[in-house]
């Protein structure tokens, strides 16, 4: 086994569940989430074979996964492009109707539903921060905004989430 394969397997072992989880709550389809996860790691593997420089595997994987989800939304949903913002924030909307289809526990479902009710600009930063434990810098790289903007969105998002859960 060469070095690249070994590194890839380690990254896959460590990050595959997070990518699958991220895709699952977005597309609400287990099979589709598995496909997106496979495509995401396939692209990583291709980049590694082409010896491209990847500084942060986690950010790289989440960025690819998010783009694939956007592509999937474009193909699947008959959403007019006019209703989408140009920065694709609308693709980060968690579909509450599909969350009910997921076989997850009550608290998890409740949190995801409350996050899904928030402004779409808060959803992904909150999810990546509290569920996946990414830093504001990594989140900024994934969704294409600055580190400070991510911090602001997280703070406002957590306040909004607390308000939604009647804990204010």
């Amino acid at each position: 086994m060469d070095t690249k394969t070994k590194i890839f397997q380690e990254v896959y072992e460590h990050e595959s569940d997070a990518i699958f989880r991220f895709a699952l709550i977005k597309v609400s389809s287990r099979d589709q989430a598995l496909d997106i996860t496979q495509d995401t790691f396939m692209r990583l593997w291709k980049c590694m074979l082409e010896e491209k420089n990847i500084s942060n595997y986690k950010s790289f994987l989440f960025t690819i996964c998010r783009n694939l989800i956007i592509d999937w939304y474009r193909k699947k949903k008959s959403v007019s492009l006019n209703t989408m913002s140009e920065d694709y924030d609308n693709f980060d909307v968690i579909d509450n109707s599909s969350i009910n289809n997921l076989e997850i526990n009550f608290e998890a479902k409740n949190i995801l539903e409350k996050i899904g009710e928030l402004n779409e600009t808060y959803q992904t930063p909150l999810y990546l921060k509290f569920v996946e434990g990414l830093s504001p810098k990594e989140i900024g790289e994934i969704i294409g905004i600055s580190e400070n903007a991510v911090s602001v969105r997280i703070n406002r998002g957590i306040e909004a989430l607390r308000d939604k859960m009647k804990y204010k």
Binding site: L34, Q38, W45, I104, Y167
Partner: protein, 268 residues
């Protein structure tokens, strides 16, 4: 607040428990590692011939070129100023001695050689004599305007004794005054045997130079001093009415070959 945090943490932990099955993991990993993805060879870009000039895209290179141009232009200007200054100094020095050293510019070369300045050789202590063919010293002041040797500044206006020189003087001097050559004491009306060393002995003219380098006025010199055709020993009579003082003897052959006594002799 604590209840919110507790509920949030519980929900997050439950979300984090969402995982793929180990069978799904293995299948995906197997599919990826056994996929027909091959390392695509990225062709190397063909180097443009203009790539050799890519350093010009750097702003520093333009600054370096500009600095070089400034240095070149600056040094050229300094060189011109230096030449002009030396030219002005030499003119000023000569003018102060009532001698005008005319540069050999074309306009000067065309000046009629009626007034000639001849620079003696080094063995003669670089004495300068001003002779003209009419054997007159023009004391009138005249203004001369010579063009400056360079394009800098306006032409230089010179005021001084109108004595111009011709660079066409034959430098091959074959005339040497042996006696009197300086230090002698002569008396008025005395007959002096002038000894010359020359290859030519026709049309010799003699004159006396005062301490300021000027020729003696014509009234003191009679025709016996002119157009002499003789051998190396010539007898001249010191004018009777000549003012006492220090003099040098000048000898001219055909207005081209000149010699002057090395030092002053005294006429009492």
């Amino acid at each position: 607040m604590e209840q919110f945090d507790e509920q949030l943490n519980t929900g997050i932990k439950e979300i984090q428990n969402i995982k793929m099955t180990s069978q799904d993991k293995e299948n995906i990993l197997y599919n990826i590692l056994n996929s027909p993805i091959q390392k695509t060879e990225i062709p190397k870009p063909i180097k443009s011939p203009w790539a050799n000039l890519s350093f010009l895209s750097n702003r520093l290179s333009y600054m370096a070129i500009a600095i070089c141009l400034v240095l070149i232009v600056g040094l050229g200007t300094f060189h011109n100023v230096t030449i002009n200054r030396e030219y002005t100094q030499s003119i000023t020095k000569i003018n102060s001695q009532n001698l005008l050293n005319v540069p050999s510019t074309p306009s000067i070369a065309n000046t009629p050689p009626d007034k000639i300045m001849i620079e003696n050789d080094n063995s003669k202590n670089q004495n300068l004599a001003i002779l003209n063919k009419t054997d007159e010293i023009n004391k009138d002041k005249e203004d001369l305007t010579y063009p400056a040797p360079t394009s800098m500044g306006s032409p230089i206006s010179l005021t001084g004794t109108m004595t111009s020189s011709s660079p066409s003087v034959n430098p091959d001097k074959s005339l040497t005054i042996i006696y009197p050559n300086g230090g002698e004491i002569l008396k008025k009306s005395e007959k002096v045997t002038v000894r010359l060393q020359t290859t030519q002995s026709v049309n010799i003219e003699f004159n006396l130079l005062t301490t300021n380098g000027m020729k003696l006025e014509n009234q003191y010199i009679n025709d016996n001093w002119k157009n002499i055709s003789n051998t190396n020993e010539i007898i001249l009579t010191i004018p009777n009415d000549i003012p006492p003082g220090q003099y040098k003897l000048s000898a001219t052959i055909n207005q081209g070959i000149i010699d002057i006594s090395d030092n002053y002799f005294i006429i009492e």
